[in-house]
């Protein structure tokens, strides 16, 4: 009689080998790129999962850039072709995706994904393969502390500098008018928290006392406790380091408690087109930093807004603009260096970007050694049901209202 378990075990081994063999055969063959072919730009984006909404915005921005560039004859006489992979908002995947794009698909250029969490691992892959890595979304300070030499952030300012104009303005007020206490609530996310903490650091240095300092996880849906803390502290001003929905929820929760600060600043959320409706139009005086407006006077922006609107039916938002900016930076480098492929060319591209200033839809951009852009965000305020630029003074559409009216 045969021993059953042993036999099953051997049968197991057969299956395992077959499966491994199949797995080994499943890969794509690398394609050889020649210079007559299109410039393939590889991107991994979070099209599903936690970051899928902004991820899709970034995708539209890239698509608009490719179309607008190709309609004008492409770069170096070659057309732009995007190769987009979905990383499911997952860092494991984003790394695998860039491995695939660079190693297997042999793309000519890679550009960045969305969200700081994904930018850092992705940038490491690009760095180790010596690829230029311009990215639209890694705004947190950490991105620039990793020692990356090939990374450039294609936006006016990193998260911590978003409120610089507001901080300057507040600290310049006469002592009697200056807010004395501030409450901060920030999402536990490098970008969102960075915005609030950037302002916090500057105000604390200027003598504004922090009375509430709350950090909440990204999945928080119930803001009543945080709101209760802020409301009972009666802080002069409240600062929310928010993405979209958490900002809305926090504002509603604060309004439920009838908290009336002299100043309320929230990142990201107030610039969204759905914001006013989402909080029942009680927007009076809410501030927000922004890196992009459709009305920005820069030359390429008019073209972008016009053609983007024609392509997608609605004007671009910040995510779209950042992706477009990324494309503009890469395009400028390719045109100047006269090449776009893996290998030696990438070094030329990196050197060019580091040494030059690029005109984009968000204004002229230049970078320091770490790839950090050197600028600040504009500050917008909801005035009379509309959001308007109030700072800096030379770009303002309206005056900053402080103390803000009741919401």
């Amino acid at each position: 009689m045969l021993n059953r378990t042993t036999r099953t075990r051997w049968a197991t081994a057969v299956g395992a080998t077959l499966a491994l063999a199949l797995g080994a055969c499943g890969g794509d063959e690398p394609e050889q790129a020649s210079t007559d072919e299109p410039i393939v730009v590889g991107i991994s984006l979070p099209l599903t999962g936690d970051f899928s909404e902004p991820g899709k915005g970034v995708q539209r921005g890239y698509e608009a850039w490719a179309k607008i560039t190709n309609d004008k004859g492409g770069l170096l006489g070659r057309t732009i072709e995007l190769k987009v992979l979905d990383d499911q908002s997952n860092a494991d995947r984003v790394v695998a995706d860039y491995e695939q794009l660079i190693g297997s698909d042999q793309v000519d250029i890679v550009v960045g994904p969305f969200s700081t969490r994904l930018v850092v691992p992705a940038a490491r892959v690009a760095e180790e393969y010596g690829m230029l890595f311009v990215e639209p979304a890694g705004a947190a300070a950490e991105v620039f502390q990793q020692g990356f030499k090939n990374l450039f952030y294609a936006a006016p300012a990193v998260a911590n500098d978003h409120y610089n104009h507001l901080a300057e303005h507040l600290l310049a007020l006469p002592p009697g008018q200056r807010p004395t206490t501030a409450a901060y609530a920030a999402m536990d996310d490098p970008f969102a928290q960075g915005t609030a903490y950037g302002l916090k650091a500057k105000l604390e240095a200027g003598g504004v006392k922090t009375v509430v300092d709350e950090v909440y996880p990204p999945n928080t849906t119930d803001f009543s406790s945080i709101a209760a803390k802020i409301a009972t502290s009666k802080a002069d001003m409240v600062v929310g380091g928010s993405q979209y929905q958490d900002g809305v929820n926090l504002i509603v929760a604060l309004q439920q408690l009838n908290y009336q600060p002299k100043l309320a600043a929230f990142s990201t959320a107030p610039t969204s087109p759905e914001f006013a409706a989402a909080i029942g139009n009680k927007t009076a005086g809410i501030l927000s930093p922004t890196g992009y407006t459709q009305d920005a006077p820069y030359e390429s922006n008019k073209e972008f807004v016009e053609k983007y609107t024609a392509q997608f039916g609605s004007p671009p938002e910040e995510d779209e603009a950042n992706a477009y900016t990324t494309g503009q930076v890469v395009a400028a480098a390719i045109t100047a260096a006269g090449c776009a492929e893996q290998g030696e060319c990438q070094k030329k591209l990196v050197d060019w970007v580091r040494a030059n200033k690029v005109d984009t839809v968000v204004g002229p951009l230049s970078w320091d050694e770490t790839g950090k852009p050197q600028g600040a965000h504009m500050i917008q305020q909801w005035v009379g049901g509309e959001i308007k630029i109030v700072l800096p003074a030379d770009a303002k559409e309206a005056d900053l209202v402080y103390p803000k009216p009741a919401w």
Binding site: A13, L20, A24, G27, V95, V120
Partner: protein, 356 residues
């Protein structure tokens, strides 16, 4: 007689031996065959899955206790290794070993809470473990880096990326071999027999004098140790850790799915499951890339396995193989299964009529 047949070379066993050798040969040669670093890195990810689900199978396969929280143990191994390297300055592989030991030590109180009572509480604790580690590692940002992530320095800073992949492919392969060897040793030991008895009928095993709680705890600790090693090795390979990916409930559920699909009673079940699920995940991604339907596909696959194939594909394949093999062993049955069922019902009815 089984004792005699263990030394016999039958066609089935010979075929199995050839298959095992072939698998080992393909695996060893893979880094040279793989056409590009990307496929090599895919190979590492699959091997990592295989090590994880084999480690899971120490608990799941032997005792039948299903843990959905092994993802957290792997995450603890990864963060433990990363923190020991960055904060304590330990050499990479010393940190890896130390972190795995720490995960194993942590498994003692966890197992104490989870295994003292039967069934449900183990699953509940395992899920809670993922959720609580996620909270702690996100919130304790000053220590873990929180959502900013933790960067683990490479153990071999001089290596180019493809070389780095190649080295880690072999490291993962070696870890897989060790995990399989230990599983195999336990499978044929007195300890393993006690564990399987627990899986079959825990009351009965205890009534026969098996210290069930101690056995379950020990094997849980062993399982945690290997899971921690796999997580730590992954950290050294991958480099960037982020709580929401390290402490994800999906990681744990993939381990279960892989082991279950391959067959939890088989040494190579989790490995086969890892190869199948690894390719399936890749396929789902290609097929349903832009939608969350890959979640649906994963869920449906898990439900189908649970409902229709709880023993996995390997036993099914084994049965198929046996059908074509010359020897049959139906002679041991004195009654058919149908008769047996009838007798059972009869017995039950008998008992019930007395109850009435």
């Amino acid at each position: 007689m089984p004792s005699a047949s263990e030394r016999l070379l039958t066609p089935t066993r010979a075929a199995g031996g050839v298959a095992l050798l072939a698998f080992a040969a393909v695996a060893l040669a893979y880094p040279s065959i793989a056409p590009n670093p990307y496929l090599l890195s895919v190979g590492i990810v699959v091997l990592n899955y295989a090590v994880l689900s084999t480690s899971w199978n120490f608990v799941g396969g032997f005792t039948g206790y299903i843990s959905l929280g092994h993802g957290a143990l792997a995450g603890l191994g990864a963060y433990g290794t990363g923190l020991l390297v960055t904060k304590a300055g330990l050499p990479s592989f010393v940190a890896l070993a130390a972190a795995a030991v720490m995960v194993a030590v942590l498994a003692v109180p966890l197992g104490y809470a989870a295994l003292r009572v039967r069934g449900a509480s183990f699953v509940i604790v395992s899920i809670a473990l993922v959720l609580v580690t996620l909270l702690v590692f996100q919130s304790w940002a000053s220590f873990t880096g929180g959502s900013r992530g933790l960067n683990v320095p490479r153990p071999f800073p001089g290596l180019l990326r493809p070389e780095h992949h190649r080295v880690f492919f072999y490291l993962f392969l070696a870890l897989l071999a060790v995990a399989l060897l230990v599983w195999w040793l336990i499978d044929r030991s007195r300890f393993g027999l006690g564990l399987k008895a627990i899986r079959e009928d825990e009351d009965k095993a205890e009534a026969l004098g098996t210290p069930t709680f101690a056995y379950k705890l020990v094997v849980f600790v062993v399982s945690a140790f290997f899971t921690g090693l796999a997580g730590g090795l992954y950290a050294l390979w991958f480099g960037d850790l982020d709580p929401i990916f390290q402490f994800s409930i999906l990681t744990g559920s993939y381990m279960v799915l892989m082991a279950l699909l391959g067959g939890v009673r088989n040494l190579f079940g989790p490995l086969v499951g890892a190869l199948l699920v690894g390719s399936a995940l890749e396929y789902f991604k290609v097929e349903f890339g832009n939608t969350p339907l890959h979640l649906v596909a994963t869920g449906v696959l898990l439900a189908l396995v649970v409902l229709f194939m709880p023993d996995g594909v390997l036993p099914a394949l084994g049965a198929l193989f046996r059908r074509f093999s010359p020897t049959t062993d139906s002679s041991i049955r004195e009654v058919t299964a149908a008769e047996l069922a009838a007798q059972r019902t009869g017995g039950d009815l008998h008992a019930q009529s007395r109850n009435g």
